[in-house]
Symmetry: C2
Subunit: 279 residues, 2 copies
């Protein structure tokens, strides 16, 4: 998916938000906005938003010396998500369609996202998502592909959210490789975060190697690329991965919530909609 | 009120939104973002947001040749507001406190604002405002000042909204001078818009002369300044006028809804709150 003009002010907002975690110095924050503004003037819009995001957060890191501003926030959000684990597991166990409930829970976890201009309340939002109908619902196709595959490549998105991914992985009943970012970027899930979420108990954790907030293939490592190319069932979580992979011709199922008007328009849904979209 | 760093991405969004009314050409729109970005790099944050807004929209005008992109939208929103006039007038007539209900209606009209990043639905939002309590409520002081004055200076904000101002003016029961912007800026009310709203029937319409989306005094004409300086009861409508006049030491009553987090934080309320704030 290409980058839209609306993404430009949004990236400035993101840079400001990340900067504010690191410093309260208004002059430094202004410099961040100015310098990120210069980057944004030069970007080709044909690139995907996570490719631009990678440059924006790298610049914030360079200007402040802090390349992982969301470190503590990530730890906290995973802890918070872990405290909800049993409650959500119960929802799955008592539901009529365990797989479907687990998919919804995994998407609900996608509300934990500090990259978008959106305030969230985990408990409230989960409740909303569980009650919400899908705007795109390729569930039969999903089950068909799941049935045929021997292994699943599951591309994670955010920390905290990965606890909810674990609930879905436990229902998939097949070997899962869980893909994390190569280095910290926003609150995206890394190896360390996935371990904290307990993903190591249910899947093999694998780094894509990327430093983008989405699986931008040209920035991924050869080990991941080999596995990716040989996969016949891929679950892609969240908006960043959708933005990076939506033009791929590969058996990918996108599980996400449309958290801004740009992606909602691109997919043809409305903001806040939940999506299970097969290829 | 000073301009905050958060206003910078917001101004870019505003420029993009105004640009999109004029053209669909992505290259032109990109140029608008780039050029407005350059202006924003140089602005002193000590200036008020409407002072910056004036420069931003002027630049959009220069780049596109269209200095009044909201012309038709303004006409339509005033027409829409006029269609609600009798309904809202009935609300006032049947209420226990006519003045208070009219004040609430005038604030409700403030949702009609294309300058902020906010989608609105007039009927729904009016209903919400009428049911909402004030976050700041200097009503007794307002009545006290109203009682003592012989004349009211009423500074309008947006087109459409001015129909709701008319309802309040009709309850004030004193001669009113209604202040409009000097030239079109966003969807702010001008002389022509105020006439369309029927303000001419209930007040003397007066231009402040400003081309800013708020009453930035140093951009106002001498005629207005003389009246302003001699006024002992001023009603200031909306966010832009608050931003421009909040540091003034003058008998001003601000009637507004806090429509973004920046102004909400500045005033010490939450987004969406309604305010009747005396000096």
């Amino acid at each position: 998916m290409k980058t839209y003009l609306d993404c430009i002010p949004c990236f400035l907002n993101q840079a400001l938000r990340a900067g504010r975690i690191i410093t309260e110095d208004e002059n430094k924050l202004r410099t961040i906005l100015d310098e990120v503004g210069i980057i944004l003037r030069d970007i080709p819009l044909e690139r995907t938003p996570p490719e631009i995001g990678m440059l924006v957060y790298k610049k914030v890191g360079e200007l402040t010396g802090e390349f992982d501003p969301y470190h503590n926030i990530k730890k906290d959000s995973t802890e918070k998500a872990l405290s909800l684990y049993h409650l959500l597991k119960d929802e799955v166990v008592k539901s009529k369609d365990r797989l479907l409930t687990a998919i919804k829970i995994a998407i609900a976890g996608n509300v934990i996202d500090y990259g978008v201009n959106r305030v969230f309340n985990i408990e409230e939002d989960i409740d909303k998502v569980l009650k919400n109908d899908f705007a795109i619902f390729d569930y039969d196709k999903f089950k068909h592909y799941l049935d045929k595959t021997n292994e699943i490549l599951y591309i994670g998105d955010n920390s905290g959210e990965s606890v909810f991914d674990r609930i879905l992985i436990e229902e998939l009943d097949k070997p899962v490789k869980y893909v994390v970012r190569g280095i910290p970027i926003i609150n995206d899930v890394t190896y360390e975060d996935a371990l904290q979420a307990g993903i190591g108990k249910v899947a093999h954790i694998l780094s894509s190697g990327t430093s983008a907030p989405g699986t931008v293939l040209r920035t991924c490592n050869p080990e991941f690329m080999k596995i990716y190319n040989n996969s016949n069932f891929i679950i892609s979580k969240g908006q960043g991965n959708y933005e990076a992979l939506s033009d791929e011709r590969h058996p990918i199922f996108f599980l996400l919530m449309a958290k801004c008007s740009v992606i909602a328009n691109e997919i043809g849904v409305v903001e806040g909609d939940i999506i299970l979209k097969g290829v």
